[in-house]
Amino acid sequence: MDLADRARFVRTETVRLTRIAGAGHYSAVFSCAEILAALYYGELRLDPARPDWPDRDRFVMSKGHAAIGLYPVLADLGFYDPSELDTYTRLGSAFGDHPDAKRIPGVDFSSGSLGHGLSICVGMAWAGRLRGSDHRTWCLLGDGELAEGQVWEAAMAAAHYGLGNLVAVVDANQLGIDGFVADVMAAEPIEDRFAAFGWDTHRVDGHDLDALLATFDALPARGGDRPQVIVADTVKGKGVARMELSPDWHVGNLVGADYDDVMAELTA
C-alpha cells in the first residue's frame, strides 16, 4: 500500500467534498492526512465487513471537524460505498461536518464538541480491558483542544486506571482558529505535561509516514499499563503552500481556478 498516495487521497477528497458543501475544514485535515493514512492503512486492526467486531481497534476523532478527511478513508476501506459521499452535508445525509456514529459504519463515536474524545477513549479502553479484549483505543486530538480541562481529567484517569491499551495522538499543527496556539493558550510543553500525568510520551514528525509507522511499532505491547501519547509535529494546511500555517484557512471555500490550482498542487 502506497501510504503517501493515500494521504494525497485524503487531501484531494477533502477539497472535492468541500466544494459540495460550499466550504469546509481543509487545513485541519491536511495536518493529519499522514496520521490518518498511517493509522488506517498501516496500523489499526479493523474489518470493514464487521464494523461492530468487538475486538476491533477503536478510533475516536476528538477533533471531529476533520471528519471530512476520515469519510473517504472509511469508504475506501469498504465500510460503505464511496458514492454515498456525494450527499455530504445535504439534507438528511449521514455525512455532516462532524462524524455521526449512529449513521456511519466505521465511526466508533460521534464527536464535534472538543475536549470529549479522550474521556470516551478512557471509557472504551477500560471497557476493553474488562471484557478481556486486546484491542487498542486511539484518540486524535488537536493542539488547541488541549486547552479543554476535560482532556486533562481524562489524562489523569487514564494513568490512574493504568490504561496501556490507550494511545492518544496530538495533531500539533500549531494553530487553532484565532491564531497560533502558543499565542492564544499555550499547550506546550505537551510531552512534559502528559508525562507529569503518568503517560509515556513519543514525539514524531507527523508528516513522515515512515517515522509514524516506526513510532506505532515501538509502542509497548497491547497489555501494558501506561497510556501512550504521540505528539505529532505537523503543519496546519500542509500540502497547499498558501494555506500552510495560515489562520485564514481554518474554514474556507476554493472556487474557480483556485480549486484546480490546489488540486494540481496536491497531486503534483
Binding site: 439534507l91 484565532d178 484557512w249 474556507g252
Partner: protein, 342 residues
C-alpha cells in the same frame, strides 16, 4: 450534485474565515457583508471608549463572533481563553466580582450547554453582571450537527434564577441589548443568531427588560416569537395579510423575565397565540408563554411551533428551516392550521 447558493451553508462566513487566494472566499461575498448582524465586537469597542468596566472574552472564536473588532481597539481588555469555555465563564465571574462587566462569547451550544453550571453557580447565584453571549444559536450551524446546535439553551437558561435571558433580533437590536446590559443588575444570557439575520429594526430600539416589542398589529392571531424567527414571522404576517388574515407580531426578545402583559393581551385581544422559536419546543419560549396563559386561566387557541423533540438531521440552515417550517412560508402555514383548527 449541484450546490445552489441556498443549499450552501457558507461555513467560511460562519467562522468569518477571510480565506482567499484570488477569487476564493465565502460564497456570498466578503466576510463582513455575510454577517451584517455581527456588531458585537464593534459595538462593545464603542461602548468601552466611555465605560472602563467593559472587558471581552472569547474561547478561540473571536473570528467567528467578531470580538476581534473589540480586540483590535482594546487589546488590553480582551481575553482569548483558548478552547476552554468553562474556564472562560468562571474567569468572567471573577472579573465581575472585581468590578468589571465582562462579555464572554462563544457558540450557544458551548456557552449554555457546556457551561450551564458555571453560569448558574458562578454568575447567577452570586448575582454578578456577567454577560454570557451565545452566538450561532439554535440550529444555525446547520450541518455541523448536534454538537454545535443549541436548541436547548432557552429552556435551560430560563430555568436559572437571577439570570436574565434575552435574544437579539438583528444588528440594531443587538446594539440596544448591549447598551442596556451595562447597568442591568443581574447576570445575562444573550442569545444571538449566526450574524446574518435580516434587518428588522431600522433604528436602535428603546428596550426595557420585561417589555416585549409589538412589531405589527393584528386582530386574528398573535405570533409571539424571538431572535432569528422574528424576521420570518414578519414575512409570514405579510403572507397571511395577503390572504386576509391579520396577525399581530410580538418580538418577545425578553424571555426571562417574560412580558406577561403582552402575552395575556395577545390572548384576550386576538384569541389565538402561535409561538415561534428556533429551539426545541420543550421548555423554551412556547413553554414560557403556555405557562403564563394557564397561570392566568386563559386558554386561547394555542400552538407551540419550534423544533420537535429530536436531534435535527444534517443539512444547511436554509434547508433545515424549510424542513421544520420555520421559514416565512412555513410559519404562515402553521398559523393557518391553528386558525382552521387543524
Amino acid at each position: 450534485m449541484t450546490t445552489t447558493q441556498d443549499q450552501t451553508q457558507d461555513q467560511a462566513a460562519i467562522f468569518n474565515g477571510t480565506a482567499t487566494f484570488k477569487d476564493s472566499r465565502s460564497v456570498d461575498g466578503t466576510d463582513t457583508r455575510a454577517m451584517p448582524a455581527f456588531v458585537l465586537g464593534e459595538e462593545l469597542a464603542e461602548l468601552a471608549e466611555v465605560d472602563p468596566r467593559i472587558v471581552v472574552l472569547t474561547a478561540d472564536l473571536g473570528r467567528s463572533n467578531r470580538t476581534t473588532d473589540f480586540a483590535a481597539r482594546h487589546p488590553d481588555r480582551f481575553v482569548n481563553a483558548g478552547i476552554a469555555e468553562k474556564n472562560m465563564i468562571t474567569m468572567a465571574a471573577g472579573m465581575a466580582a472585581s468590578g468589571l462587566v465582562p462579555f464572554a462569547a462563544t457558540f450557544g451550544s458551548f456557552a449554555a450547554l457546556l457551561c450551564a453550571e458555571q453560569i448558574r453557580t458562578d454568575c447567577a447565584y452570586p448575582d454578578l453582571p456577567v454577560r454570557v453571549v451565545g452566538h450561532h444559536s439554535g440550529m444555525s450551524m446547520g450541518f455541523y450537527g448536534t454538537s454545535h446546535h443549541s436548541l436547548e439553551d432557552l429552556a435551560m437558561m430560563r430555568s436559572i434564577a437571577d439570570l436574565t435571558v434575552v435574544s437579539a433580533t438583528d444588528a440594531n437590536h443587538l446594539r440596544a441589548l448591549l447598551r442596556l446590559s451595562l447597568d442591568h443588575p443581574h447576570a445575562m444570557y444573550l442569545r444571538l443568531g449566526r450574524g446574518r439575520d435580516p434587518e428588522v429594526y431600522a433604528e436602535v430600539p428603546e428596550l426595557v427588560v420585561g417589555k416585549a416589542l409589538t412589531l405589527r398589529e393584528g386582530t386574528d392571531l398573535t405570533i409571539v416569537t424571538t431572535g432569528s424567527e422574528v424576521a420570518p414571522a414578519m414575512q409570514a404576517a405579510d403572507d397571511l395579510a395577503a390572504a386576509g388574515v391579520e396577525a399581530r407580531v410580538v418580538d418577545m426578545w425578553t424571555i426571562s423575565p417574560l412580558d406577561r402583559d403582552a402575552v395575556l393581551a395577545a390572548a384576550r385581544e386576538t384569541g389565538a397565540v402561535l409561538t415561534v422559536e428556533e429551539a426545541n419546543g420543550t421548555g423554551g419560549l412556547g413553554s414560557a408563554v403556555a405557562e403564563c396563559l394557564l397561570d392566568a386561566g386563559l386558554a386561547p387557541r394555542f400552538r407551540r411551533h419550534g423544533v420537535p423533540d429530536q436531534h435535527v438531521p444534517v443539512g444547511p440552515p436554509a434547508a433545515l428551516y424549510a424542513h421544520y417550517r420555520l421559514d416565512g412560508a412555513g410559519i404562515a402555514a402553521v398559523a393557518r392550521e391553528l386558525l382552521e383548527g387543524n
